[in-house]
Symmetry: C2
Subunit: 161 residues, 2 copies
DNA sequence: AGTGAAATGACCATAAT
DNA sequence: ATTATGGTCATTTCACT
């Protein structure tokens, strides 16, 4: 039922625009136009169209995790119990309410959920994991894997030609 | 040895700015100033300072993965072999060269690397995983976990008061 | 191309140290 | 007094029609 509205094919200009704004989200339209080799006016129209179509879903500042005091970054692997219908909605709400959750994915296979998390320190992480995650209704087990270093920092999707 | 230069404490205004730009990275300075209750000029000065200090590391447009034709999103768990010094640098280079890698983390514990990946379809994913990842020198084993749905879409860090 | 809005920098005010 | 904050205004640049 959720249908991909209309997949207008991307023009080469669109692709160039996407490549740039994915890396420099706050670039001015004037500078963007120059980079992609368009005049300002058509460049802005294309960017707006990409936003309109949801291809550009939004813009975010990327903040420095450590500078903000989050020493711990981890991925938490969650197994769920077989449970009543409706668990999903409630669980999503509860998870989204945890500020330390950066992202959460429902997965195929052994692990049911993969949760990307930050915490100020190990104590805070332990409190989150033990007292808040594990006690959620439907959660059977949690296992945590800690990030030692970021080899490839989060970056954009490839934009094929 | 890379030391956190100077941790200027964040003012309440800084925090408000960070909360906003993390969600609306392309907001105009004028609108940002209004939202955080500052005049345009000091607001811009603070934002620039936050960028200067690396607290704001950059800005990115968030693109729609499916709209761009990536049906597959997965996390690949990699185990490495004991290997010669210098493996790390070479491996990082090789990994970064793969466009389908959205992020890659060195992890503590059983799994050595966690790689966030997209692919157009299963064929493309298989080709990447089998022919390109697994054949990298030093890679002992890869296991893939596929994303079924995104429960909490990637969002910003919590900014405490 | 033109008009209104935004960005940017020079300068001032106030308060806390 | 110095430092750190915010404000006002004038000029340049940009967004958008």
């Amino acid at each position: 039922m959720p249908e991909d509205s209309d997949k207008r094919p991307l023009t080469p200009s669109d692709r160039r625009i996407l490549r740039v704004v994915q890396e420099e989200g706050r670039i001015t339209n004037a500078a963007l136009a120059e980079k992609v080799g368009l005049a300002a006016s058509p460049c802005l129209r294309r960017l707006k169209a990409l936003e309109e179509d949801g291809i550009v879903a939004g813009y975010r500042a990327v903040l420095d995790r450590k500078a903000l005091g989050y020493a711990i970054e981890a991925f938490v692997l969650v197994k769920l119990e077989q449970s009543e219908p409706g668990w999903r909605t409630r669980l999503i709400e509860r998870l989204n309410a945890f500020e330390e959750v950066l992202a959460c994915y429902a997965m195929a296979g052994e692990i049911d959920l993969l949760i990307h998390v930050v915490a100020q320190d190990m104590d805070a992480f332990g409190e989150f994991s033990m007292n808040r995650l594990l006690t959620l209704p439907g959660v059977a087990d949690v296992r945590s894997s800690f990030v030692l270093s970021t080899i490839t920092p989060p970056r954009g999707l490839p934009i094929p030609d």
